[in-house]
């Protein structure tokens, strides 16, 4: 397919508009395409070289090329449209700083990039008043560049090797349903049941192919816009930021596809959290949604220990093992230690339990976003949360620590509840594993933990 005039201008500067018109979506799309090609070339140039890798506070890697690409785009933006805001991963502005914003991820799928696999992408979105109007996602490894804008259909441009002509196609590449859907799964430590279900669907013929791959979610969403595969990502931990998914989701939607969450409703790509499915066909999306893990699937620790304070160390050892297997951040593990210490001690010192009582049952489990701890003992009915909150403002001489343990539990967990169930005391605590949800104005940024990056959308 020959190039349209917009695409031709990328390779022929004489065709470009002389003035940048910030009110024209077309102008922004040209700018994004130009920046994306430059960025992808910069990334591609170093892709197979030894790389300088630093570690960000959240434990994820960043290369010098990540930083230099974002800086270069920022400088170009400053020249063309000084009022525009650059919203980037490596340090930049927020949506709302200006009506015009460009959200950039120089390399989405940094781990994949560092492993020299092709599942990485440079992602750019132009937002006007907080709404995506144009987007480009380029794969520096393969030379595929996808783009779309308001009034411009989604297209893929294939960059030329030597002596080749660039070619471009309108998306999707395939028309209509053709056989059983192909499903692409993003792995995480809690994805095993999802993968098992997908494999079972493939064995039974309901899925045409199952492909498990990490890397850039933005790239996988773009590939879904080709019309062949449906992509499932659990996206636990942090809510998406404007440069994570918005460009790719916009392109897929312009191609006629959709990105949905559990229940089938479209996601808000600027701040989504939780599992999502991206694909062109409703049949593929419904099949993929049926693979998404349910609470029943979640991994757990379950043990019974004698009602004694000596048992706490044993519980802690099991919790530490669980935490390392299922990517529980250290700050959450330390909270678990504390609440177990307080609750078991409480059961023994106030709850009338001792080593001759029935064992204390402890169960701990997680899903994508939450962790639960449940402790049951067989002592007389006793609601620890019914005690008065201790006065924490008293001076040294007046203070005692009665009730402080329970107060700590209530403050350090997101939900703490007591129930009397079948003659046993049952305390259930909930802790959020994810980051703060950013406000629509983008005020709250992610707080640093390593959990998301290496658990899920390996970026």
């Amino acid at each position: 397919m020959p190039l349209n005039s917009l695409e031709q201008a990328l390779f022929d500067p004489s065709r470009r508009a002389a003035e940048f018109d910030a009110s024209s979506v077309h102008a922004w799309l040209s700018l994004l395409l130009d920046c994306a090609l430059q960025a992808a070339a910069d990334v591609r140039r170093v892709r197979l070289e030894p790389l300088d890798v630093a570690t960000k506070p959240d434990g994820s890697p960043v290369t010098t090329v990540d930083v230099s690409v974002e800086v270069a785009i920022g400088e170009r933006l400053k020249t063309l449209c000084p009022v525009a805001t650059l919203v980037g991963e490596e340090g930049g502005g927020k949506l709302g700083d200006s009506p015009h914003a460009v959200a950039v991820d120089p390399i989405d799928g940094t781990w994949a990039f560092l492993n020299r696999t092709a599942n990485c992408a440079t992602s750019l979105a132009y937002l006007h008043e907080g709404v995506v109007r144009a987007a480009v996602v380029a794969n520096p490894a393969t030379g595929e560049v996808l783009y779309a804008a308001d009034g411009v259909p989604a297209r893929v441009l294939q960059l030329p090797f030597a002596h080749e002509e660039a070619v471009a196609y309108t998306l999707p590449l395939t028309s209509g349903e053709s056989g059983a859907p192909l499903v692409r799964l993003h792995p995480s430590r809690t994805a095993r049941p999802m993968i098992d279900r997908a494999m079972a669907a493939w064995m039974g013929g309901d899925a045409g192919l199952v492909h498990v791959t990490g890397g850039s979610p933005a790239w996988a969403i773009c590939e879904a816009a080709y019309g062949y595969s449906t992509y499932v990502c659990l996206w636990g931990g942090a809510p998406a930021l404007p440069y994570d998914l918005a460009a790719a989701v916009f392109i897929l939607r312009r191609a006629g596809g959709e990105v949905v969450q559990i229940g089938g409703t479209p996601i808000d790509a600027l701040r989504h959290v939780g599992p999502f499915v991206a694909g062109m066909s409703a049949v593929g999306r419904d099949l993929a949604l049926s693979f998404v893990p349910t609470p029943r699937d979640q991994p757990a620790v379950s043990l019974s220990v004698p009602a004694s304070v000596e048992a706490i160390a044993k519980v802690n050892a099991q919790l530490a093992q669980f935490a390392s297997e299922f990517a529980i951040p250290a700050r959450v593990l330390h909270r678990l230690y504390l609440v177990v210490d307080e609750l078991v001690t409480n059961a023994v010192t106030h709850g009338g339990c001792d080593v001759t009582s029935e064992p204390i049952a402890i169960r701990c489990w997680r899903d994508q976003d939450h962790l639960w701890l449940r402790i049951e003992d067989s002592g007389p009915a006793f609601d620890p949360f019914a005690r008065a909150v201790p006065d924490t403002s008293l001076g040294l001489e007046e203070r005692n620590v009665g009730g402080l343990g329970i107060h700590l539990i209530q403050q350090l967990t997101d939900d703490a509840r007591y129930e009397r169930v079948d003659g046993r005391n049952q305390v259930t605590l909930t802790m959020r594993l994810n980051y703060e949800i950013p406000q629509p104005d983008g005020e709250a940024g992610p707080s640093p933990t390593a959990q998301t990056e290496d658990d899920n959308h390996a970026d």
Binding site: H334, T345, L404, G405, L408
Partner: protein
């Protein structure tokens, strides 16, 4: 839990390494009780090596703080990690004790 003392000009630094919880509270309490009356100057509890502190650990610090004050001395705290700092905030202990980033700063205060 490992507990060690270091005598410095103006006080004694007690370094805790491990978890300060129900399982270690008795050990920590007897160590601190042994110091009272036998050391000169202030006592600094360096919690830099403590991964978490439960209310049992807070009880030890409170009892030690009260006893030291009665004997004319003072308990100061230093090097709280993020979790311990949160526990101190919630329990009101951050206003009960003078808290410092380092043992040196606690000694110099």
């Amino acid at each position: 839990m490992q507990i060690s003392n270091e005598t410095a000009a103006g006080g004694t630094i007690v370094r805790f390494v491990g978890s300060l919880d129900t399982g270690t509270a008795a050990q920590a309490q007897s160590h601190m009780t042994g110091l009272i009356g036998s050391v000169e100057g202030v006592v600094i509890a360096d919690l830099g090596g403590v991964d978490y502190i439960s209310s049992a650990g807070l009880r030890v610090l409170l009892a030690t703080g009260k006893k030291l004050r009665r004997s004319g001395s003072e308990l100061r705290i230093c090097a709280l990690n993020e979790m311990a700092e949160e526990v101190f905030e919630i329990s009101g202990f951050s206003t009960l004790f003078k808290i410092f980033d380092t043992a040196e700063a606690a000694l110099a205060a």
